[in-house]
Structures are given as C-alpha cells and as structure tokens.
Assembly symmetry: C2
Homo-oligomer: 254 residues x 2
C-alpha cells in the first residue's frame, strides 16, 4: 500500500482524498492543514495535524495548496530525501525545494467543493526526476484515474494555458451570453442544450470541423447586425475579436 | 393530424423531418427542393417535388433554407393565406412575404448532418401573428420537443447573438486550445473531460459562480507568464481581451 500525506484541505485536496478512499493501492495516512478548521471533515478517516513537526513518514507527500505558496511551503518541510509533489498546472516542478525528491501530480479538472466528480475520467499528468518516483506516481495515478499522462513542466504549461481557454474563457462567454439574455428578457435556460451539444460535438469531431456561424460563413450582413444589436462596448469588443479570429482562420477580413 | 410541407433538404430540414417521423400529431406530407439530389433520402417516406407549382395543400409550410434566401423565397410561393414559417434565428418574421400568414419555428441547436440529435431536448422557439397559428405552432413544437418557448423577433435576435457566443465563439476557443497543444506537442485529448465539465457545471450553477482561473483571482503573475508563453499574436490578443473582461467583472485592471 502506497502511503500518502496530504498537505492542504482545499477543493483539490478534498477531491483527491475522496478518490484515494476508493483506491486499493494507496491510502492517505495523514492530512495536514495550518488551521484546525479545514481538518474537520477528514478526522473520521485519517490522522490529522496542524504541526509540520508531527508529519509522519510516508511514500509521498502531496502539496495541494495555492500556487503562490507551493515553493515556500516546500522549503519548510522538516525532512529530506522523501518524495514531494504538487498538484498545480502552472508551477514548475523545479520550484519545489531540492531538499527532497520532486514531482508533480496534476489532475486536469475544474473542482467545486460541493460538486461530485468522477475521478476515473479526470486526466492526471505526472512528472518526476527519478525513474522509481515516476513509477510510483504512475501507479498512484492509475489507481484513481483511467487517463494518466506523463507530462513535463513545459508541456504542462501548454495544458494550463489551454485550460484557461477552454474553461475560464469559455465560462466567461457563458457569463456574457447570460448578460445579453437578461438585457432582452429571454431565459438563459434556452441556451443550455446548445452549450451541452457544443461541448459534446468535439468528443467525436475535431473542433475545426465543428465551426459554424456567421463568421465561419463570412456573412458580413449578420455580423454587422449583431455588432449593432449588442449594447455594451465590452460585448462588442469580444464579438469583434473572436469574429476576426474565425475570419482569419478562413482567410477573410472583418 | 397537422400536415406539413417541408421546403429545403439541409441539416435543419433533415433533422426536423426525422423528428416529425416520430410525431403522432404531425406529418410531413411533402418535401420540396430546387434540385432532385437533395430529395433522395426523403423519397421513401414522403412525396417530393422540385416544382413550386406542385406544392400540395398543407396546414403549415416550413422554410428551412439559408437565411439569405428566406425572404425572396417566401415571395415566390404560388399561394396565399396559408401559414408559412421559417426556422432561422437571425431572420425577422416580418421578412417573410405578407401574402401568407407568417410565423417562426426556430430549433435552437447546432446541427451536423451525420450526428444524431435527441429532438426532445432541443428548445423550439415559436412566433406568429395570429392566435390560431400560435396554437398550431405550439402543438407542432410540443409534439417533437419538451422545451417549447414563445419568443418574439427581438428576443430571438438576443438568443441568436447569445448562441454565437456560447457555440461559435466557444468552439473557436477549442480550436485555439488545440493549436496551443499542437505547438507544444501535448494531446488535445487531455482537455476533453475539462471541456465537458465546464459545460456541465452551468446546468446546476449560474455561470458567474463557476468562474475560476488567474483572471478571476486577479493573479497578475500567472497572467503575465501565460501571455508571454503564447507564441501567436492572435492567441495573445484573445487572451488579453477575455482576461480584461473577466477582470472588469470583478473591478480589476490588467
């Protein structure tokens, strides 16, 4: 059994903890958090501590805290030559202290505290410096997910930026659409099946082949009408930039 | 039984035809197309014609052709005082010839020829000028869909613009993400579960509550790093505009 100490109690830590509860090859033996409060929900299933000096020996230490603190936190861990990994998309493995063996265990998903996720479908990207650590991380990842990838820090940065496009930016477009619907008193609800189908389509077709709409057709009349219809400059600007970008893809101009 | 003549044989026409095949209250009695070619697949289940003078009498005529031709096409129909509707999100009902009763029957979805859709879940937006026509269109819509809405032409324009945001623009962001992945030799595949979850989340939470990422956190360091990481000006521009727009939502600046 691979023993894990989990450092942090946020969304990623909580979802990882729940996933490892089901695993037959790995077990979270201890959860650490600076304050007592975050630890409450873990107490019934694992040891907990608020004191770094009380950390017990384990095969791997998973740092699941805010990106900004990962590097500093790794330096104050009171042991050496053990395996420590972080769970961030945007932090290089080399930002971890070299007092210990280093690695990354990055589950590529958007986590919300009260929303259940099926970890089996979540891609986990692992990276480390030594073959034996890589083997251990792969074993660990495969015990909770069916989509495990070996990804180095440069590739992970590409994934993280891409994730900003397909999650953060896409969600922002949903926000803008909801604004437009509210302005004209149309229920945003009506768009939800289209939103689902748009995401579904690319599971079976390349995104390029799914592109439709006035910009794809170079339908300047509809484009002009829609820009005029939008009431906020910010909406117009987003409309124009993305329309131009679609037109560019097909060699057209706004 | 409500009788329908379907005018057109494209994606929308085909999917509508298939949906009405299952309906117990409406039946497509004839399909018209300018050329013989498009009619082939309909011949076994309905009368077909390439000649407007051969159009038979029906309760409703559904014009499912390219937006640009709807208005002109409605003017050359060789009859009066019957109910004609179009299926477009962006064309006003009043662009139809007033020789006939006018209406709109707009299924809000992205259709691909070879991709099956479950019509029951597709919102249909209906509009007309007379109460008896509205009743007929509602009956027709309810016979194939569980999501039927009465939407006027101004509201429908809002829906259509919003659909451009949540479908066309969202899909373009998928295209951009795939580009970034290709540049750095990472499989785009890894992002697909995230794409699905992003769309799924907003079925249970308002989009505003789902927003995450560096712009939402006002994490200027990650934002700068990601802009620098992107290699194409077009990708940088989209990144900056959407990041700025998310920052604005929270009262921050780039």
């Amino acid at each position: 059994m691979i023993s894990i100490v989990l450092l942090g109690t946020g969304n990623v830590a909580t979802h990882l903890f729940n996933a490892f509860q089901e695993s037959t090859v790995a077990k979270v033996v201890q959860v650490y958090n600076r304050g007592e409060k975050g630890l409450t929900t873990f107490k019934s299933s694992a040891k907990t501590t608020t004191c770094l000096n009380e950390l017990i020996k384990a095969d791997v230490y998973i740092i699941a805290i805010s990106d900004d603190y990962i590097s500093d936190f790794s330096k104050i861990l009171p042991f050496k030559n053990r395996l420590i990994v972080h769970t961030s998309g945007s932090v290089s493995m080399h930002n971890l202290s070299n007092n210990n063996d280093r690695g990354v265990f990055y589950p590529l998903q958007t986590f919300t505290k009260d929303r259940a996720v099926n970890f089996k479908t979540i891609p986990i990207c692992v990276e480390s410096e030594k073959a034996k650590n890589q083997a251990l991380l792969l074993l660990l990842a495969n015990s909770i997910s069916e989509n495990v990838y070996e990804i180095n820090s440069v590739q992970r940065e590409a994934l993280h930026v891409s994730a900003v496009f397909v999650n953060n930016f896409v969600n922002h477009l949903y926000v803008k659409a909801e604004e437009i619907c509210e302005t004209h008193q149309v229920p945003f609800e009506i768009l939800k099946p289209l939103i689902q189908e748009t995401a579904q389509k690319i599971t079976s077709l390349p995104p390029k082949d799914c592109q439709t709409g006035p910009a794809k057709r170079n339908d300047q009349e509809v484009i002009k009408k829609q820009v005029d219809y939008l009431q906020e400059d910010n909406q117009k600007e987003i409309y124009k930039i993305l329309t131009q970008s679609i037109l560019n893809t097909n060699g057209n101009k706004l």
